[in-house]
Symmetry: C2
Subunit: 187 residues, 2 copies
DNA sequence: GCGCTTACATGATCCTCGTCATATTTGGAG
DNA sequence: CTCCAAATATGACGAGGATCATGTAAGCGC
């Protein structure tokens, strides 16, 4: 049967959101098209009415994941120092570590992105946007080093989150988050 | 036929080394048992004479990957400052970025390790060893903050390498490596 | 309001993959 | 010297996965 256009758009959004969540939780290779469609309340056959391929979905879901999590990244705070503290406390938190499906796409999918040609271009665009945003939001006096500081800060939080997630020992995981948080705060 | 024990041990090593390389290049999920065995010069059937399962191989190959790359990590240099510089220049180099199969297992497999229960325990052990090694090799005066500095340094280089590999733009990739290298050197 | 088109479900097809079964052959233990 | 066990090749099996084919029924343009 043919379905109303409004519901179709909603279903498209559900597919994208579920894919953005599942891909971050289990990786591109770890989730199948059928499971994503089931999570969106549909069957696998309808998939190709919405996306050209799984890679195409991966590229769109990655952008969706960025827009979901970066909305929460830069809280509305006035001065740069406070904004950076808020960012650090949110990014390097136990909650973020324990909920990869709702968190940063770089930490969840970084290594896989490097191998998937279909997603590298949109990923690069999002990273550029993120670096520029962090440079202006967190930068203080030195304009020249603001961009460099942003790259360093992003690298450090991404690496720390990946380590905290991969490590088996809860104490070490917490220690990594706390150490890097503290270390980056005093900069 | 039965094969001489000496050759068998060599084949076991070849399987481990090829697995350590291929897993880092394409991820645990991206490489099949058959391909690893073929790379080692054998057929897939012989696999289960050497390892209990693919996960078992993954755990052993991960340790192998660590021992391969960490051998090159801490060059034999006298003072801490110089050792750190050497480490930074090696880890955040274009060569390391472009040859993941011979490089750091954390950057290549980090996100996947968090999802694979079979490899988290050995990974944790290796990370602990690495943090302790960096703290003693690079730490200078303040003993207390040496461990904290090591965690921060490791996080930053891992994150930077992942970003440099995932990004599509060669200029941005080089800039990330150079910025983080420079930023970490002056600490 | 007619009919084309579209969004969906069902199911099929062709892979790939992890694992296991079996046969073979010979090194090495006794 | 004999016989067992081990290491390998070949092949099979079941599961799952991406993609496509087909049927269908109703929304929407005309």
């Amino acid at each position: 049967m043919r379905y109303p256009a409004s519901e179709t758009a909603e279903k498209h959004e559900r597919i994208l959101n579920e894919a953005a969540k599942l891909f971050r939780e289990r990786g591109f290779a770890g989730v199948g098209v059928a499971e994503i469609m089931q999570a969106a309340g549909l069957t696998h056959g309808a998939f190709y009415a919405h996306f050209k391929s799984k890679d195409d979905l991966a590229a769109e879901a990655l952008v969706r994941a960025f827009s979901q999590s970066s909305d929460r990244a830069y809280a509305a705070t006035a001065n740069a120092m406070e904004a950076k503290q808020v960012f650090l406390e949110r990014y390097l938190s136990a909650k973020h570590r324990d909920r990869p499906g709702a968190g940063c796409a770089i930490a969840a999918l970084g290594a896989e992105i490097a191998r998937n040609m279909a997603v590298r271009a949109p990923f690069t665009e999002q990273v550029k946007r993120m670096i520029a945003g962090m440079a202006t939001s967190f930068g203080r006096k030195h304009k020249a080093s603001a961009r460099q500081n942003a790259m360093h800060l992003l690298s450090a939080v991404v690496g720390a989150l990946i380590l905290a997630r991969a490590v088996d020992d809860p104490k070490l995981s917490d220690e990594i988050l706390a150490s890097v948080r503290e270390r980056l705060a005093s900069t």
